[in-house]
Symmetry: C2
Subunit: 68 residues, 2 copies
Protein backbone atom coordinates (compact mmCIF):
# COMPACT_ATOMS: atom_id res chain seq x y z
CA UNK A 1 0.00 0.00 0.00
CA UNK A 2 1.58 3.31 -1.10
CA UNK A 3 1.96 6.14 1.40
CA UNK A 4 -0.75 8.72 0.67
CA UNK A 5 1.71 11.57 1.20
CA UNK A 6 4.00 10.16 -1.53
CA UNK A 7 1.03 9.72 -3.90
CA UNK A 8 -0.16 13.31 -3.42
CA UNK A 9 3.40 14.68 -3.70
CA UNK A 10 3.94 12.74 -6.94
CA UNK A 11 0.66 14.02 -8.36
CA UNK A 12 1.56 17.65 -7.60
CA UNK A 13 5.03 17.29 -9.13
CA UNK A 14 3.49 15.82 -12.30
CA UNK A 15 0.75 18.50 -12.47
CA UNK A 16 3.26 21.35 -12.13
CA UNK A 17 5.70 19.70 -14.58
CA UNK A 18 2.94 19.47 -17.22
CA UNK A 19 1.91 23.08 -16.51
CA UNK A 20 5.46 24.06 -17.44
CA UNK A 21 5.34 21.69 -20.46
CA UNK A 22 8.46 19.88 -19.27
CA UNK A 23 9.20 16.21 -19.95
CA UNK A 24 10.42 14.04 -17.04
CA UNK A 25 13.88 14.13 -18.64
CA UNK A 26 13.88 17.94 -18.81
CA UNK A 27 12.74 18.25 -15.18
CA UNK A 28 15.37 15.72 -14.07
CA UNK A 29 18.10 17.65 -15.86
CA UNK A 30 16.89 20.99 -14.43
CA UNK A 31 16.83 19.50 -10.90
CA UNK A 32 20.15 17.67 -11.26
CA UNK A 33 18.47 14.33 -10.65
CA UNK A 34 18.38 11.08 -12.64
CA UNK A 35 15.70 10.80 -15.31
CA UNK A 36 14.17 7.63 -13.83
CA UNK A 37 14.05 9.24 -10.36
CA UNK A 38 11.42 11.74 -11.50
CA UNK A 39 9.26 8.92 -12.88
CA UNK A 40 9.53 7.04 -9.59
CA UNK A 41 8.61 10.19 -7.62
CA UNK A 42 5.52 10.74 -9.77
CA UNK A 43 4.48 7.07 -9.29
CA UNK A 44 5.07 7.39 -5.52
CA UNK A 45 7.70 4.67 -5.67
CA UNK A 46 10.36 6.75 -3.90
CA UNK A 47 10.36 8.07 -0.32
CA UNK A 48 11.89 11.38 -1.47
CA UNK A 49 14.35 13.20 0.79
CA UNK A 50 14.14 16.87 1.78
CA UNK A 51 17.25 17.86 -0.19
CA UNK A 52 15.68 16.39 -3.33
CA UNK A 53 12.28 17.96 -2.54
CA UNK A 54 14.07 21.32 -2.57
CA UNK A 55 15.83 20.54 -5.88
CA UNK A 56 12.49 19.55 -7.47
CA UNK A 57 10.66 22.62 -6.13
CA UNK A 58 13.40 24.94 -7.47
CA UNK A 59 13.32 23.23 -10.88
CA UNK A 60 9.50 23.58 -10.91
CA UNK A 61 9.93 27.27 -9.94
CA UNK A 62 7.64 26.99 -6.91
CA UNK A 63 8.20 27.03 -3.14
CA UNK A 64 8.32 23.79 -1.14
CA UNK A 65 4.98 24.46 0.66
CA UNK A 66 3.27 24.67 -2.74
CA UNK A 67 4.06 20.98 -3.26
CA UNK A 68 1.95 20.01 -0.21
CA UNK B 1 28.80 22.24 4.81
CA UNK B 2 25.23 21.49 5.95
CA UNK B 3 22.32 21.89 3.54
CA UNK B 4 20.54 25.13 4.44
CA UNK B 5 17.14 23.47 3.93
CA UNK B 6 18.01 20.81 6.56
CA UNK B 7 19.25 23.50 8.99
CA UNK B 8 16.05 25.56 8.64
CA UNK B 9 13.84 22.44 8.89
CA UNK B 10 15.67 21.33 12.05
CA UNK B 11 15.30 24.77 13.59
CA UNK B 12 11.52 24.82 12.92
CA UNK B 13 11.04 21.32 14.37
CA UNK B 14 12.93 22.34 17.52
CA UNK B 15 11.04 25.65 17.85
CA UNK B 16 7.65 23.97 17.54
CA UNK B 17 8.70 21.10 19.87
CA UNK B 18 9.68 23.62 22.57
CA UNK B 19 6.42 25.54 22.02
CA UNK B 20 4.63 22.31 22.88
CA UNK B 21 7.03 21.76 25.82
CA UNK B 22 7.97 18.31 24.49
CA UNK B 23 11.34 16.66 25.01
CA UNK B 24 13.06 15.03 22.02
CA UNK B 25 12.14 11.66 23.53
CA UNK B 26 8.47 12.60 23.82
CA UNK B 27 8.35 13.90 20.24
CA UNK B 28 10.12 10.76 18.98
CA UNK B 29 7.60 8.55 20.76
CA UNK B 30 4.64 10.58 19.46
CA UNK B 31 6.01 10.39 15.90
CA UNK B 32 6.95 6.71 16.12
CA UNK B 33 10.60 7.53 15.44
CA UNK B 34 13.82 6.74 17.31
CA UNK B 35 14.83 9.18 20.04
CA UNK B 36 18.23 9.92 18.49
CA UNK B 37 16.63 10.54 15.09
CA UNK B 38 14.87 13.69 16.37
CA UNK B 39 18.19 15.02 17.71
CA UNK B 40 19.86 14.39 14.36
CA UNK B 41 16.99 16.15 12.52
CA UNK B 42 17.29 19.20 14.78
CA UNK B 43 21.10 19.31 14.19
CA UNK B 44 20.55 18.96 10.40
CA UNK B 45 22.53 15.72 10.41
CA UNK B 46 19.79 13.72 8.63
CA UNK B 47 18.40 14.17 5.11
CA UNK B 48 14.87 13.48 6.33
CA UNK B 49 12.43 11.63 4.06
CA UNK B 50 8.90 12.77 3.20
CA UNK B 51 7.21 9.94 5.12
CA UNK B 52 9.12 10.99 8.26
CA UNK B 53 8.41 14.70 7.61
CA UNK B 54 4.72 13.81 7.70
CA UNK B 55 5.13 11.79 10.95
CA UNK B 56 6.96 14.73 12.59
CA UNK B 57 4.40 17.30 11.40
CA UNK B 58 1.51 15.18 12.75
CA UNK B 59 3.29 14.73 16.10
CA UNK B 60 3.89 18.50 16.24
CA UNK B 61 0.20 19.06 15.37
CA UNK B 62 0.95 21.28 12.41
CA UNK B 63 0.68 20.89 8.63
CA UNK B 64 3.73 20.03 6.51
CA UNK B 65 3.87 23.48 4.83
CA UNK B 66 4.19 25.10 8.27
CA UNK B 67 7.57 23.38 8.64
CA UNK B 68 8.95 25.27 5.63
Amino acid sequence: MKHEILVSFGRKVQMRRKELKLSQEQLAEEAGLHRTYIGMIERAEKNVTLVNIEKIAKALKISIPELF
